[in-house]
Amino acid sequence: MSGPSTYVPANGFTRWLDSRLPILRLMNDTMTSFPTPRNLNFWYTFGGILTFCLAVQIVTGIVLAMHYVPNDKMAFDSVENIMRDVNYGWLLRYVHANGASMFFLAVYIHMFRGLYYGSYKAPREVLWILGVVIYLLMMATGFLGYVLPWGQMSFWGATVITNFFSAIPVVGESVTHWLWGGFAVGDPTLNRFFSLHYLLPFVIAGVVGLHIWALHVPGNNNPLGIDVKGPQDTVPFHPFYTAKDAFYLVLFAILFAGLVFYSPNFVGEVDNYTPANPLVTPEHIVPEWYYLPFYAMLRSVPDKLLGVLTMFGAIAILFFAPWLDTSKVRSARFRPLLKPAFWLLVADCLILGYVGKNKPDAMLLSTGIPLLWIGRIGTLYYYGYFLVLLPILGLIETPKPLPESIAKAVGDKSHAAE
């Protein structure tokens, strides 16, 4: 933690406990007295929101597993029984299914916020890398979970995604057979996917613990991207950020509830309400929306192996962002060249998502421009942002002058008087 502990046990019992298991001290130092920059804005509330999402997914998942049957003959039926017969089963399942989307929505905002304010830069490289690990685990968990209802999109999504591994030279086929436990996606696959889908969220929770630990060593970055100079720049986490996080968490919950209660199948695919059929491929296989940009990148490369590498590379490249960025300034607020490049990256990811959603031979609206080419340009820009723009812009741009301190920048009158 930054700075010595401020915890003072209040009574005899807490003193006794503190000398044996200083858990109250830990909680106090991380969640109560933790000095947090006073200028964190709305975009910094998503860390707390993500913790909430993980908790919701784990709790609803545990109770859904009480009714779900991981068997290729019974999985679809068991999900429908949850929807129809289990008390509040429809609610639990819709929360879990839409919870995945809300989780990814929050994590994307969280990641883009990190990219914008330079939160990945020294001394927070490990914090960022742990975040990317969490994101990777989330992608794996989300994919495994989407297979479980054993509808058409589950089955064919699993077939397409596991076939990525067949692109590996020499051992590709053996690897896919090993993944499937057979010669195609089938009952053994479903069973192991269920086991892993149950396991991975707890691994995520563990890495989240490390992520928060790594956050509390250097402390939060902030929208100005400048270091905390002293106590005048910070406020204790509680009640300042507990109150702020709580308010935005409730707003997030309203959006979440709106989806669950009024449009529960909005993010789903209709084909997944048809039981898996290994003899019939749906007309148009699409992954869940949160994978679409990567799906577009995969399809933008005509070669199988290169396509898979391009897709995985797009995530792998995030690990190196701390060292690809050469700028001495963290926040894009003070980086006139990076700022537009960043917003172009955001737009690029949305465009890639649109490309991934459409059929591979589709045209842009009715202009006759093939989406394939838009996907290719989008893929190039995505890689270009990390491999070209981050290293070069840091060297050539002239940052705007940085404020002297957070307290000065926010115009704290009480300090001005001191």
């Binding site: 000095p35 106590p231 005048q232 009640p239 709580a246």
Partner: protein, 184 residues
């Protein structure tokens, strides 16, 4: 630091208490679906009462039907069996209570209190000792013998020899017509 940051709320502040209370109430209400989901599903409840056709059962025979995942003996007793169990004085019984869900808990274990119609004995086929399933028409009392620990029941399903402490339970049931009963 402490001197400048003075927004630490007072515990009595009504707004904070109200916010915290609302949050706590919400969390408590949200817990209910997670608890209720473990209760029997509507599919299970739809099978909580069953109808049994008595017409194929001959005198001296019994059928076993499943009700709420438990075996229920439906036995058509002969006149001789009825006369036999009705001649047993209550003082000979180990369990003096009828254990009939259709009657008051204190009803005595006379044979009349064990059936709705004298000809038909309907009991849950689970030994009241440790849950084994008694065998039909075995033992010395013209009723049932539990293979696990040797408890014996008469043709009214009343325990006559230990270690079972209680008579076989009579489930709630009613005659819909002469040949059909509804259990549960």
């Amino acid at each position: 630091m402490a001197s400048t940051i003075s927004a630490e709320p007072t515990r009595r502040d009504f707004l904070y208490v109200a916010t915290g209370a609302a949050g706590a109430v919400g969390a408590a209400l949200a817990a209910w679906p997670f608890i209720d989901q473990m209760n029997p599903t509507s599919a299970v409840l739809a099978l909580s009462s069953i109808e049994v056709d008595l017409s194929p059962v001959q005198e001296g025979q019994q059928i076993v039907v499943m009700w709420r995942s438990k075996p229920v003996f439906v036995r058509r007793r002969s006149k001789k069996e009825i006369a036999e169990v009705r001649s047993v004085p209550l003082s000979d019984l180990i369990d003096p209570l009828a254990r009939n869900a259709n009657l008051a808990e204190t009803a005595p274990a006379t044979d009349e209190n064990r059936e709705v119609k004298p000809e038909w004995l309907v009991v849950v086929g689970i030994c009241t000792h440790l849950g084994c399933i008694p065998l039909f028409n075995q033992g010395n009392f013209g009723g049932y013998l539990c293979p696990c620990h040797g408890s014996q029941y008469d043709a009214a399903g009343r325990v006559r020899k230990g270690p079972a402490p209680e008579n076989l339970y009579v489930p709630p049931y009613a005659f819909l017509n002469d040949t059909k009963i509804k259990i549960g």
